[in-house]
């Protein structure tokens, strides 16, 4: 977790579009960039790793904008963020909860959170982390989002959110990296239709 605290780049810059671009523009730019840096195009090529890294950045930027940029208009707010952000505020009340979550003792963490009357940003953040570990990712995002809206400058909360978005977006990068490209071109789609029809005859 530590090493991810480095600051995120301006996602608009990464995608090469102006701030406040519409969703369509973002999507178009994203597709273009993915094509450009697709690892397929750089196989057996010294740029391979660089392209992969760049693709990761693009995915992050895209996920960030899809998640935050489009409707909150917060696209520019993070660029105003003070360079270090605020120090993580960790209250002693939740120290044991953090330990329990780390160790996988979820019932204890859950009970302690339910008992607590102090439902501030950290409470929501830890509820989110607990959900994350349980596999309840939707709950996790909701809770961490609440924590961030209550304490927008907290680096720990933002890092956690970024890392969740990265996991989700990372699967797609990984799939593309293995040569399973997105099938945008017509020929591919045609083949797919043909194969689906074929599959029906073949298998059932």
């Amino acid at each position: 977790m530590r090493k991810e605290i480095q600051k995120m780049q301006n996602p608009y810059e990464v995608l090469g579009i102006k701030e406040g671009a519409s969703i369509q523009e973002i999507k178009a730019a994203y597709k273009e960039q993915v094509k450009k840096y697709h690892p397929d195009r750089h196989q057996d090529n010294p740029l391979y790793e660089l392209a992969e890294e760049k693709l990761q950045e693009i995915n992050e930027a895209y996920d960030y904008l899809m998640k935050n940029g489009s409707y909150t208009g917060g696209g520019s707010s993070y660029s105003k963020e003070p360079s270090g952000g605020s120090q993580p505020r960790q209250s002693p009340e939740f120290r044991q909860v953090r330990i329990d979550i780390d160790r996988g003792n979820f019932p204890a963490a859950e009970a302690a959170l339910n008992r607590s009357k102090n439902r501030g940003a950290e409470w929501f953040f830890l509820s989110g982390m607990l959900s994350l570990r349980k596999g309840w990712y939707d709950d996790a995002v909701t809770n961490v989002q609440t924590a961030i809206s209550m304490d927008p400058n907290n680096v720990e909360y933002r890092t956690a959110m970024n890392s969740m978005l990265q996991t989700s977006g990372g699967y797609r990068t990984n799939a593309y990296g293995r040569g399973y490209g997105n099938s945008n071109d017509e020929l591919c789609r045609m083949m797919q239709c043909y194969c689906c029809a074929d599959m029906l005859c073949d298998c059932i």
Binding site: S131, Y137, D138, T167, A175, Y180, N182, S183, C203
Partner: protein, 296 residues
Amino acid sequence: MLGYVVPDKPELKIREFELYSGYYCGICKSVKHSYGQIPRMVLNYDFVFLALVLSALCPPMEKIKQERCPIHPLKKRTVVYNEPAVDYAADMMLLLTYFKLMDDRQDEGGLKPAAGLAILKPTYKKLMKNYNEKGIMIQRKLNELTDLEEQGCASLDRAAESFAKLMEEVFAAETLVDDSGTLELLRRIGYHTGKWIYLIDAFDDLEANAKSGSYNPLLLQWDYQAEQEEMSNFRRRIHERVEFNLLFYLAELSKAWDQLSVARNRGLVENIIYSGLLRKTEEVLEKGNTKDAEPL
């Protein structure tokens, strides 16, 4: 289990496709061999995935044959025999089918589920003898699922949990694998496959469920009001979040798979995990949008 877990056929090698068909037919033959002709009607692609994942972990001992069968009389087909993972997948498929019929009988009544139950009864008895604990566990999870539906649970995560745990149980094939670390990874694959199937099915069925007024956690969690909102609009509203969740499940699923020590079938399973599932995800997610475009 509804047949969402399929390979991306254009990306398969021909021999992989043959093998895939062989597993499919192998499950069918296994059902026939153990339980007779009739239960074969419930065959489903999702269980081919189960058979492939499990067989990847076991030493190869399968026999591959080319033969004809009454359902496809014209062409000889590849069939995988003597593969414990295939027999296991066939058993799990029948067990779940039986529970599904029990559920249907309770919900709708009528002749069809009752007839199905009567026919499958001997099969079910045999299965419960072999998989007693697992059978009871799966049934308990299904009952929880029904309860949550009846209560109108408005949380996706809560509603999907029982189904995910059920699939976890299905994938944890203790009869084939003894290593506890491997079983734990199988459980994680099962859990996330279950969550993915549950959510993609819920998103796919939004229109139908909204029209008939039947339960769908997405309609409740994101507060769909039929009079005030177009379904296409609702789809768009929840699209990002649903996509995030679906891809998260697939990310965790593939992470667990990567940690397994795989002896065979890697290309085939990875085709499903990295391409088949991704393609299906995108297909279902875009469904609403393509419909939107039509009136123009």
